[in-house]
Symmetry: C2
Subunit: 306 residues, 2 copies
Amino acid sequence: MKVVVLAGGLGGSRLARGLAETIDPADLTIVGNVGDDVEILGLHVSPDLDTILYTLTGRLDETKGWGRAQETWNALDTVTELGGESWFRLGDLDLGVHLVRTQALRAGEPLSLVTARLAIAFGLEPRLLPATDDRLRTWLDTPAGELPFQEWFVARGHRDEVDGVRFEGAEAAGPAPGVLDALQAADLVAIAPSNPFVSIGPILAVAEIREALEQRAAPVVAVSPLIGGHAVRGPAGRMLSRLRGGTGPQQVTDCYEGLLDALVIDEADAAEEAGVRTIVTRTLMEDAEGRRRVAEAVLEGAGALA
Amino acid sequence: MKVVVLAGGLGGSRLARGLAETIDPADLTIVGNVGDDVEILGLHVSPDLDTILYTLTGRLDETKGWGRAQETWNALDTVTELGGESWFRLGDLDLGVHLVRTQALRAGEPLSLVTARLAIAFGLEPRLLPATDDRLRTWLDTPAGELPFQEWFVARGHRDEVDGVRFEGAEAAGPAPGVLDALQAADLVAIAPSNPFVSIGPILAVAEIREALEQRAAPVVAVSPLIGGHAVRGPAGRMLSRLRGGTGPQQVTDCYEGLLDALVIDEADAAEEAGVRTIVTRTLMEDAEGRRRVAEAVLEGAGALA
């Protein structure tokens, strides 16, 4: 059974890990968000691709939910001492990835190729593809003005309300090599419980990816990021409320209009309207059992639909 | 008494530190070699400027003689794991400097200005100037072909014999802002016991700096890098032997033909011909007393000449 999962950062990486632990990992392709990529200290940082890479190879700091386990912060301490750009927390182990990636990109290597090299070196079993090799960046329309993703999310702690989301470069962005092939060969496309607006949105903003899902042969099953009407982490709840008028399964389905065959929702939201066929389970992925439970619910959704 | 010292890496930084501990540090200008600057992992590394910066602000790893004290190597461990460029040992604390410098240079800031900012942030008291803001790189003519400095020095451990030295970009390189003014205002110009060919040579390869020394009003006093016909560290001895036909004070003087008023030599070399007025002392700078002794010998050389 060939599966493609569209994934943002932590929630995406946890579903991807659950799927990789449930099916043959060689049959899994992860399409990662690059809308929150950012240049820090002259380095190209791909936070979501790295969170996926770190999570699935046992390198993630599971307590923080980002960055590397057993990380040190000496380079950033020097940068801080020198008055440099230190608002984005780059650890020393993490920096090695950004240095190698940036050097390769500067030499003209596409992001998908660098990502593949990093994945091989770290022993990642599923295939990891960026949604696009082209520059695509997420901007937030807020009462404080339009903000680039990381300024809104990290520098300002996503306190600003969001009135709209824009994907700079999306019109010109094509899918990275392998993405369309993987979608066409898939028996199931999973959409991870990542933020629909800023994690999955940038992937679907690549027109050919969205079209491939619209014209799908295989079922598309999303996992709701909500538990009892609240996002497990981050600003998804507030954004759903403000941009879709509520924080229930229906609003999640609305984000993926025309794209979903089923939605995996938490038991706490089972009584709510979803506007699409639902699979109910406990969706919190705190450990291997939780990851497997959600992965199986996704596979069940596809099985029932196939 | 205003002093300018031309300095390479460790020997240069130790004499500079000795001078800064002996005269008013505000009266000292250090002109640093940039011929061994190198791009590693896309970062601009200025090893000699950094050794000076670290030595004079108490940050140097005194055991290794390069890099930062209490250094960690996590970023480079990741780079190694990823098959990246890891032959040049960049520690985590050290990396912070290269990240800030590289970002500033990419934004169009000249090296002299970045260096001044780093020096202020680290609390360096003397003024530190790169010899030039222009690109100037040292190449070695060896039996294995022409090699860039760091490939010869670090990657191949300066094992290859040197038949000649070339300074790429020297013809077009002008002195960094402040260098000529400092030389003109100086009461003494000191040449550190750095390698005459690859540490001091690139500074003197900037035509206006060499001319300023040739037309000097103030005395120029060099410190020989030899003790008993051997270099304290590095390949200076072998290079003097092969390129100047011997490893005595005379060969050091020959390297600075037309530029020297006096040479500080070690007691072990006192019986040798020098071809210029000598000041004899113990030139090893292992501690504060040693640094002060050599600094005072240099000042004595100037005093006797003035």
